[in-house]
């Protein structure tokens, strides 16, 4: 599905990703953990084509997307739920779902509002007036409207109330049932452990550890060394 092969990404003059490789298989939920500044968001931006790597390759469905423009990568089937939601404040909820509507694959408008019932109540509201939790649902719904086969979620639980986190977990399970692959970037260890099939840990621009969620849960040394817990 997604194969990131030894990428090196710079942000202006800073050398951020220093040879990152990572694999997401069809239907898999991959958890990507690491401290702030480890390079997780830069990895998401590299895959999405927003900050292309200088060296290395990124393949999606066996097509080289390393230097493809972001909108083409999105149209090939990668959805992004960006860090801090970043909803469009001058668009209504309904318009968010309409501007990205694209492609075949069961994520119709009706199914998206069924998955996020909160949104149904607020269809005509401008996104800026929604609560943080609702904005997160909207950011996820907006990505789904493009019918992605891989969805990248960048810290979706950040700043959410526990109830909303549970809601998001429910949505994530339903994505998984639908066969969508997920790259889940998280700070909340418990959320990642609950939902991921495999965990990658990043530190200082490199992948430093790869394991099953259960192994990580039991490995106090790794947890304290790379995650500070």
């Amino acid at each position: 599905m997604l194969s990131v092969q030894d990428i090196h990404t710079y942000y202006r003059d800073s050398y951020i990703l220093q040879g990152v490789s990572l694999e997401v298989r069809p239907g898999q939920v991959v958890g990507l953990l690491g401290r702030n500044g480890a390079g997780k968001t830069t990895l998401a931006r590299s895959v999405m084509g927003l900050t292309p790597p200088r060296r290395g390759r990124i393949l999606f469905k066996n097509v080289d997307i390393t230097r493809a423009p972001a909108h083409r990568i999105a149209r090939m089937g990668i959805g992004l739920v960006p860090q801090g939601r970043q909803v469009f404040k001058s668009l209504t909820v309904k318009e968010h779902l309409e501007v990205t509507t694209r492609g075949e694959g069961g994520w119709t408008y009706d199914r998206i509002v069924e998955l996020f019932p909160n949104l149904r109540e607020r269809l005509r509201s401008f996104a800026g007036t929604l609560s943080g939790g609702e904005q997160q649902m909207l950011a996820a719904g907006r990505a789904l409207a493009g019918n992605p086969t891989l969805i990248i979620m960048d810290e979706p639980t950040e700043g959410l109330a526990p109830l909303m986190v549970r809601e998001l977990g429910r949505a994530l399970r339903s994505l998984k049932r639908a066969g969508t692959s997920v790259l889940l970037i998280e700070q909340q260890l418990a959320f990642a452990l609950r939902h991921a099939d495999v965990i990658f840990i990043m530190s200082k621009g490199q992948i430093v550890h790869r394991c099953a969620p259960a192994e990580l849960a039991a490995d106090a040394d790794i947890k304290s060394r790379y995650l500070g817990v």
Binding site: M48, G49, L50, P69, A70, H71, A74, R75, L80, P82, Q86, F88, K89, S90, L91, E95, E98, V99, T100, R102, R142, A143, G146
Partner: protein, 286 residues
Amino acid sequence: MPVTFWLVQALNGISYGMLLFLLAAGLSLIFGLMKVLNLTHGSFYLLGGYFGLAVIQRTGSFVVAVLTACFAIAIIGVIIERFFLRRLYLEELPQALVTFGFLFIFSDLATVIWGGDPQTMPKPDLFTGSLQLGTFYYPIYRLFIIGFGLAIALLLWWLQDGTRIGAMVRASVDNEEVARAMGIDVSLLFTLVFGFGAFLAALGGVMGGPIVGVYPGADFEILLLGFVVVIIGGLGSLKGSLFGGLLVGLLDTFGKVFFPELALFTIFAPMALILAIRPSGLFGRE
């Protein structure tokens, strides 16, 4: 002073304001989306007028003149965006220099081709003559300009708030990067919006041909007023372009009537005041 005088001057100001609106709407839209302050916009207006004249002299049809001029200018706009501005994305100074350069090039070209004498475009047959409004007569064409401007304003509103492409433009204005990550081809939108802005400026130029004429220097003059309009109304705001256009049109008209020697002052003083009180303009975003 008689009421008639006020009414006539007000209508003059409003009709001129509608031309300013056509110009400012494009200027404002282009800035909102692409962060480009397009100084060539004055040329689009002037060339629109000259193209319209050239076509009407050959075909005699006002409608054909308007359409040909607007589409031709839109194509020129698309070429400038694709081949010049595209390379300078978010580089303000180079952008200003390039668009300023084109303003001078087109200005000289127009003088070489059409000469230095002011010209007036004939009015369309349907709107020649005057209409009796109570106690006075008023040119039908100017009334038509007012109605036409309002119709274009409504059309732009609908395009912006009621269509999918309008929502895409708003999304790209809000957050260009995320818009691209959602599959919106922002670079194509840039080209379309720039071409459309050029189209509107040319429309102002041809439609204004019968009332303000087409003459060397009109490009700089209208550009200056266009900037005042977007500063007063707020960059990126359609409502701001309309109200700003009408306000500047009225200020300009009454200023020239009452204080002909201070005509620019009557426009720039309110602008400075608004800049001081509300730097983002009457309807601009914070």
